[in-house]
């Protein structure tokens, strides 16, 4: 194909262009022609098509995501909000923290190892681009049924990829989720979260300003990988058998990561920041150079001119369109004042990182790209990056919602005898979703950097950020697709409430939120309704809890044929703790301590793990949410930690009280004697998933002080038992040896994947 220049586009306006193959709708193509006043060149078409894809433009979600801004709670901590690579939050002592969760779902299904690995790579670069040193990662994952043969292909690959990349980068993995459900069979969810730390003055933004400043591309060479990755792998054209990708030519849609290169990129970039050599910066992720150049130029004050033929290539046969779309990993783009270029290059050289001046910031307001002297792109950058199409997709509550909600799990048969109750408990704690996850988490380095205070299986991951003062941050991610399926509004709030509670349980004060919204096709009104309800629920809850959404990601088209995954918002909450010495772990480590149950237990079994494990049932209404109660519970847990009253605490969620006690006992290495509430059916007492609850272990000397505090503040607090022995003894019901529980709980994943 000959070079399609701007001149050519003017001279040959009638050329037919493959906009549909690139995923553009006829009216979108028409709009591009109107913007440019001519037909786009093939390079321009490539840029618009990737940048206007759902993945990059948020065209279906934008109108809903706006609520996160509109309903944003007053929060002094927020330094940078939605719209940048990641939000930034003030955590005191001059420190700022940036964090974000993103999806790499489709690529991880096609090629689990590399898909997951590059998912980590991408989110780490987002955090780095804010000016921060990445300090930890987390990996919320969803797979198909645990016993399904394809899960045996996908899960070990994904886990090895996350470990292979993250371990090699030297970032501790401090938490995540592993959930199995048949709804994710053809659509596993691989979400990745990264958190980074910087001083306030180190915040960097993605903008190109100052005419004459240079555009420097640095990191890996550009190859043919991932071309069409955005448009193929993250778009509606994705189908189950589309492994090879259907991008242009026979370029692979799969990207291969090089964590070693990324590690150099991190150290190199941090040194560039330290010497104040960077005026603006953007990572290269989805849509590669198209995205980085147009976003930098769009957010800046001037225009930009790029000489595309200067881009260092791994494959010299690449066309300019392909170079613009390539998603080769481990690349960054910086805006640098001319006076700093020499030093910039020196530092890159020190780290063996290839750096090339590929363009400059111009006076005008156009993004102009040249190929061997000929102009191939001449566009207003905003129209590419920030003023893409916006859809108000139709949405409607699905017809089946009422039927589903009417089919409550509270009516299902319950275990009748003590023996049955015991068997049920063992079955629940051994079920893949509730079983011990060490088989996975042992493949992740949690120690590197030497600041990990809490990691798996604790309620939240916690890292120290200042060795002198002990200042630290805690993070938890949660999302329950089953609850969301039953009621997306409430389900989203439950996800937030749980992550918020997890952070507070470890003693940290919840500050801010990131979210990854994993859904089916936005073209399905039922899915769009789930999405609308989810965003509304999340925004409302964030407002009440005072924790703003600082950024996140939307992943649509997670569906096979007509069947969408459960709506699955994954919510990450970041908290701060003044002194990590004060953290509260989950394990019952001290015999003789008193176990207290905080909060109210209702008959709420619909959507629960019990309903799934015992009856393979999903129906009814999810547990009720009481955000004021969540707030109060959090305040008590934080106060208890701060004042040294509690030695262990564990939030109640999936699997209810039974699961929480089992985890606290196994982790701490001690049994417990427990009295179940008389006024509750034992199945409800053990397995209800009512929100707003936690168990705590307090030394006898602190019991009164702690329960008085609860009473004064109006938080229900019941003494349910004592840490003791090597059995779990539910008095009057059944006793089970800790060893038996341990074998059940720890054997499952090893048996399935080991």
């Amino acid at each position: 194909m000959s070079l399609d220049t701007v001149k050519n586009a003017l001279e040959h306006p009638g050329v037919e262009q493959p906009f549909a193959e690139l995923g553009l709708k006829p009216d979108e193509y028409t709009r591009i022609r109107e913007i440019l006043g001519r037909r786009p060149t093939s390079s321009e078409l490539a840029m618009y098509s990737v940048m206007w894809s759902e993945h990059c433009s948020y065209k279906s979600s934008k109108v809903h995501l706006r609520q996160f801004g509109d309903k944003m709670p007053e929060n002094d901590a927020m330094l940078v909000g939605i719209g940048e690579n990641a939000g930034v939050v003030d955590v005191g002592q001059g420190y700022a923290v940036t964090f974000k969760v993103e999806s790499h779902n489709h690529p991880s299904y096609v090629e689990p190892y590399q898909g997951a690995a590059t998912g980590i790579g991408g989110i780490v670069r987002d955090i780095l681009a804010m000016g921060a040193r990445p300090v930890a990662v987390m990996d919320p994952l969803r797979f198909g049924a645990a016993e399904h043969p394809d899960t045996r292909r996908v899960l070990p690959g994904v886990v090895a990829g996350i470990g292979g990349y993250g371990n090699c980068l030297g970032l501790p993995n401090i938490g995540g989720e592993i959930v199995f459900d048949p709804c994710y069979q053809g659509n596993p969810l691989v979400n990745a979260l990264c958190v980074g730390v910087m001083k306030h003055e180190d915040i960097h933004l993605a903008q190109a300003s100052g005419a004459g400043n240079l555009v420097i591309l640095y990191g890996a060479r550009t190859g043919g990988d991932g071309i069409g990755g955005v448009s193929v792998l993250a778009s509606e054209t994705f189908t189950e058998n589309d492994g090879g990708g259907s991008g242009p030519a026979k370029r692979p849609a799969v990207q291969v990561g090089d964590p070693f290169q990324e590690k150099l990129l991190i150290e190199c970039t941090l040194e560039l920041f330290r010497e104040h050599l960077v005026a603006g910066i953007q990572d290269l992720g989805g849509a590669g150079l198209s995205c980085a150049t147009s976003e930098l130029a769009s957010a800046g004050s001037g225009g930009m001119r790029v000489e595309l033929d200067t881009v260092p290539l791994r494959d010299h046969t690449l066309s300019p369109e392909e170079i613009l779309m390539s998603e080769s990993q481990e690349r960054m783009c910086a805006i640098v004042e001319p006076a700093h270029v020499a030093r910039f290059m020196e530092i890159c050289d020190k780290w063996d990182v290839i750096a090339t001046v590929v363009g400059e910031v111009t006076e005008g307001d156009r993004l102009e790209i040249f190929w061997h002297g000929e102009q191939i792109v001449d566009v207003p950058p905003r129209t590419v990056a920030h003023e893409g199409p916006v859809y108000e997709r139709p949405y409607a509550r699905p017809q089946w919602q009422d039927t589903l909600q009417a089919d409550a799990a509270e009516r299902l048969p319950r275990p009748g005898t003590a023996e049955e109750l015991k068997a049920t408990l063992l079955k629940v704690v051994a079920s893949p979703n509730l079983a011990d996850k060490s088989w996975v988490t042992a493949q992740y380095d949690k120690y590197v950097l030497g600041n990990t205070v809490l990691a798996q299986p604790e309620d939240s991951g916690m890292v120290r950020i200042d060795e002198e003062s002990g200042l630290g941050v805690a993070l938890a991610t949660d999302g329950n697709g089953r609850f969301c399926k039953l009621d997306p509004y409430t389900g989203a709030q439950l996800a937030l409430a749980e992550a918020y509670r997890n952070v507070a349980t470890t003693g940290a004060k919840p500050l801010a939120v990131t979210d990854c919204l994993n859904f089916g096709s936005p073209e399905d009104p039922a899915v769009m309704w789930q999405f609308a309800e989810t965003t509304r629920g999340l925004a409302d809850a964030c407002q009440i809890l005072g924790t703003p959404v600082t950024g996140g990601n939307v992943s649509f088209y997670n569906q096979t044929g007509e069947t969408a995954i459960h709506p699955t918002p994954v919510v990450g909450v970041l908290g701060v703790i003044d002194d990590v010495e004060r953290r509260t772990p989950i394990g019952f480590a001290e015999e003789g301590q008193i176990i207290l149950l905080l909060g109210d237990t209702h008959e709420e079994l619909s959507g629960s793990a019990w309903a799934q494990v015992a009856h393979d049932h999903l129906g009814g209404l999810p547990p009720k949410v009481d955000l004021e109660r969540e707030r109060l519970l959090a305040e008590i847990l934080i106060a208890g930690s701060r004042d040294g009253m509690i030695d262990a605490a564990h939030d109640l969620a999936d699997g209810g009280l039974a699961q929480a006690l089992v985890e606290a006992c196994l982790t701490g290495g001690n049994g417990a004697r427990v009295v179940l509430a008389e006024d509750l059916d034992p199945t409800v007492a053990l397995f209800s998933e009512s929100a707003g609850r936690a168990i705590v272990a307090v030394p006898r000397s602190e019991e009164l002080r702690f329960s008085d505090m609860c009473k004064v503040r109006g938080l229900p607090c019941a003494r349910i038992g004592v840490v003791d022995g090597d059995t779990l003894d539910f008095q009057g019901h059944f006793t089970v040896a800790l060893d038996e529980v341990r074998a059940a709980h720890e054997g499952t994943l090893k048996g399935l994947f080991g």
């Binding site: 371990n167 090699c168 070693f260 042992a442 120690y447 600041n451 060795e467 010495e581």
Partner: protein
Amino acid sequence: MTIRVGVVTFPGSLDDRDAQRAVRIAGAEPVALWHKDKNLQQVDAVVLPGGFSYGDYLRCGAISRFSPVMESVIEQAQAGLPVLGICNGFQILCESHLLPGALTRNDHLHFICRDQKLRIENVSSAWTSDFAPGQEITVPLKNIDGGFVADERTLDMLEAEGRVVARYLDVNPNGSRRDIAGISNAAGNVVGLMPHPEHAVEPLTGPTTEGLPFFTSILKRLVNA
């Protein structure tokens, strides 16, 4: 007199700052050494930290072994400079032939991060003199290429000369021959160790603080020297 302990940073080193912290907590002064620089800045001892130097591409430690800094480390180690290689550092020492044997893929083929129980078998090396003979400790272990292998003759020699510095207890986490977790050279100044004592020096961030004697041993020896 402050003891100065160099910690080398190779491209892809990860636990270099952790090793520096451990050195500091032990009461010595950490000195950052750079792989491209032959100058060891007159340090009293050197730690080759964990990580994935050069991405562990080709073989762990294979590329780092040829770095400028290793020229000096090899030369001075042969002359008695105490050198501790942790994990990737152990691999580099084997590739450099300062230590015999090699480290190969874990027998279960996975990366493994766990709190590992060890027995200190030799308390006469430069890096283990602060342990009690036969002391049992628990420190983190994390690697994917941690299986120590050598031919039978070499293994017998290591045993006979008391050069097995630490052995895995309870579980052999990677298929290491004879449960070997660490070895020393004949002179006892060069030690390679697969587990990570630098991650067990603070109660807050480690499973124990039982890794600390590796770093205090060197002080005692140097101060007494």
